[in-house]
Symmetry: C2
Subunit: 462 residues, 2 copies
């Protein structure tokens, strides 16, 4: 690790609030990993930013002295995108204020470090709605934007990208820019805003984000549908999407995953006898409309092989069901003694094929693959569990299982990541599947925003 | 005009179906202008492409011989983006087939030259729905994608960008690429697909597009709301958007515009006594739900100053109303003896300010400004009419009016174009308002896709 340039350190200390630029041993281990904790790596210096100007100053100093800069929110990522090996780690989690609620234009401007749960609470208490709903509610909004997080309501409402109206950023080259606008249509030059969304901190640092809001739906009902097998469950989904039911969320899970969650939460799920489940949600502004939707959906599912249809309308039951769904990742993690993940996305009609294939891998390689996911949008979350395997064996099986999974995803015309991003962990798989010409164009775009390659170097592509 | 390299012409003739590569005088005047016909300019050679391979061959030859290439669909653009001054004009309007309807994944793959009306008819006859609804139904889908066209239903359903899942393209450098995928979520590297959307043929040529579909709404009702003045009409809009009514379209127009349309169509509108109108649409899958929405909306509008609320539920009345709305552009054009247009977008809550300002310009400069537009999304269409002005006077007034309009749009934090694009006609205004750093990044992106600057040179920016 090269030493930090003392002039850089001195200038940085001058620019940043006292006590908020930390060096070497002052940096806590919490900053050395993300949620999946696959890579442990320390930055040379940590800056806890207090305001946009401090971010801009930090980026400009890093650019001047060629110090690699990694941005971090809550550290809930799963692919190592917010882990810094040397250089500077910029923590934005303290910048979590709402800057402006613009009810006339139905949008909100927030600082990058606001947590999804804080944003949601703020807008919902005012009768407004921010639809994207990724599972990890403590993630920051800039983290969600940087991975174009999707979440459960993507089926009806779309992904984070669809709600980003305007971004204030500072590019890696140190230029402060406002991209997009507080407008619902735009045909004025290339959409640079859409490049920043999903770029995992490699092009620019987000200073503030203006997000589109909707009126809050007042009626929400879920439907839990047990099936005898995962294939019948998932084969219902294209029929549902083709119907007039307009589900908000279409999740699937298998019994094994559910049992981990029951164990982990110490709570019983309304039903855990069946092999596979679909969990649907419907929302709207009127009881009668939502009732029409879930009634039609229940009939359709029962025709397609569902064993029953449990209506989850009370807040208590809804909490029980969705808290179990929300705990899947943690529950699998607690059961696994080490794990790695795959969040491929495949065309919706291919989800069943992919799950069946993952069970074949389980049997063939003797490694546990726990999965659940977003059946409505083709995004699967598959966790490869270490259990009690020795290290070398686990690594070998992991590598082989990943190879097979990503190959299958490609064969089904899927993509390496649906919503967690590429980061470090999936870079090799991404590089393998993405044509060299596309990667070359991405590299040129990277230089256009960050001429000295200081922002999150080595992430997404080499 | 430099002569075409004879080797280029010879190779081109070999690559293209006989009779589909036309030179010099063989090229009809129809190809020398777009819908607004501001610029008259001829290409040296016209290629009418029959298939994707011919497009790829043409682009590669142009790249090899450094021949500028402009792509053209139906020629319904308003900003000169599809007009070629010398070089090669590539007409894709003959490539108008549906390549695949994938009902399981609710998407459709089409050739670039299919007209919006052909696409709409194809999917609607199968109970499916392509929501974007730009006014010009004879535009091609690749044209819509290239300008990120918005249309009337953007309020509820979003713009063209939101429905583009996958694009097969050939870059200006001659590389064939598939961008995006048949997936609903994607977090796998920079979104190059979103760069192509809205890039007006300057980065790549679209070979095919896969578009997201929805189930077709079965109930559609419109509501016509007369007001005493345009301000009260438009001030209703933020209230509507904040309500639980979820309108599909929120259009506004003034009496003068309506009278041109009545004249032009030779048909009476249900009501033309009032100074200003809002025209709303509601759609859904059940009568009762749509009824709830338009009833609430009507009450809200009457509380906010609407003089009446006409329910337009029969197909006959709906056709009368929407054919008038659809004829506004043609009607103004017929009345104007020459015109130019401005399609700024401003934050929704600022539309009234902008319209009032445009009337001030009318009075101050003595030039007629006929406007209508999408009140729900802040996108205005303002036509500056020549009427009987001498040429020099018209040009001077036009320049001054544009200067004032674009300055006002910037002051209100709007954008130069909401959906028609920049092309040639708005380049100066775009360059004036876009920060030099952004334009610099766009130039680098241009080189990354089109290293010899052959695609649509001189459009959007210099």
């Amino acid at each position: 690790v090269p030493e930090l340039n003392p002039e850089f350190s001195a200038e940085l200390k001058k620019a940043i609030t006292e006590g908020k630029a930390l060096f070497g041993d002052q940096i806590s281990e919490d900053y050395a990993h993300d949620e999946l904790a696959l890579a442990m790596a320390f930055p040379d210096v940590l800056v806890i930013a207090a305001c946009a100007d401090e971010i801009v100053d930090t980026v400009r100093l890093c650019n001047k002295y060629r110090v690699p800069l990694v941005v971090r929110g809550s550290g809930t990522g799963l692919c190592g995108a917010a882990v810094a090996s040397g250089g500077l780690l910029l923590d934005l989690s303290g910048m979590n204020r709402v800057l402006e609620l613009d009810e006339d234009n139905l949008c909100i401007r927030v600082e990058p470090g606001i947590m999804l749960m804080e944003l949601t609470e703020y807008v919902e208490s005012r009768g407004l709605f921010y639809p994207p709903d990724p599972g990890e509610k403590t993630a920051t909004i800039a983290g969600n934007i940087s991975t174009n997080a999707g979440g459960m309501r993507a089926v009806k409402y779309g992904v984070t990208r669809d709600y980003v109206r305007e971004l204030e950023v500072v590019t890696g080259s140190g230029d402060r820019l406002t991209l997009g606008g507080r407008v619902a249509k735009n045909s004025s030059g290339y959409s640079l805003k859409d490049l920043i969304v999903g770029s995992e901190g490699t092009l620019a640092v987000i200073l503030s984000a203006t997000l589109k809001l909707l009126p809050l739906p007042t009626v929400i009902v879920s439907l839990l549908l047990p099936y005898d097998d995962i294939q019948s469950a998932i084969e219902t989904v294209p029929k549902l999407m083709r119907s007039k039911c307009a589900p908000t969320a279409v999740e699937f899970f298998e019994r094994s995953t559910l049992l981990y969650a029951e164990d982990y939460l110490g709570k019983k799920f309304p039903d855990s006898k069946s092999a596979a489940y679909l969990l649907l949600t419907f929302d709207g502004q009127s009881e009668s409309e939502v009732e029409r939707e879930y009634t039609e959906a229940a009939e359709l599912c029962i025709d397609a092989g569902a064993l029953d249809a449990f209506i989850i309308a009370t807040e208590e039951r809804r909490d029980a069901v969705w808290s179990a769904r929300g705990a899947f990742l943690e529950a699998i993690k607690a059961s696994a003694g080490g794990m790695d993940e795959c969040d491929v996305v495949v065309p919706r009609a291919k989800v069943a094929d992919f799950i069946v294939f993952s069970h074949e891998i389980e049997r063939k390689l003797g490694i546990r693959l726990s999965s659940f996911g977003h059946a409505g949008d083709g995004n699967l979350h598959i966790y490869l569990c270490r259990d009690k395997m020795p290290d070398t064996e686990y690594r070998e099986k992991l590598a082989e299982a990943f190879r097979l999974l990503y190959e299958k995803a490609r064969e089904l015309r899927g993509k390496v990541s649906g919503e967690h991003g590429i980061g470090l962990a999936k870079k090799d798989w991404f590089m393998l599947q993405e044509p060299a010409v596309s990667v070359g164009i991405m590299r040129s775009i990277k230089s256009a925003f960050d001429k000295n390659y200081i922002l999150n170097p080595g992430k997404i592509f080499d």
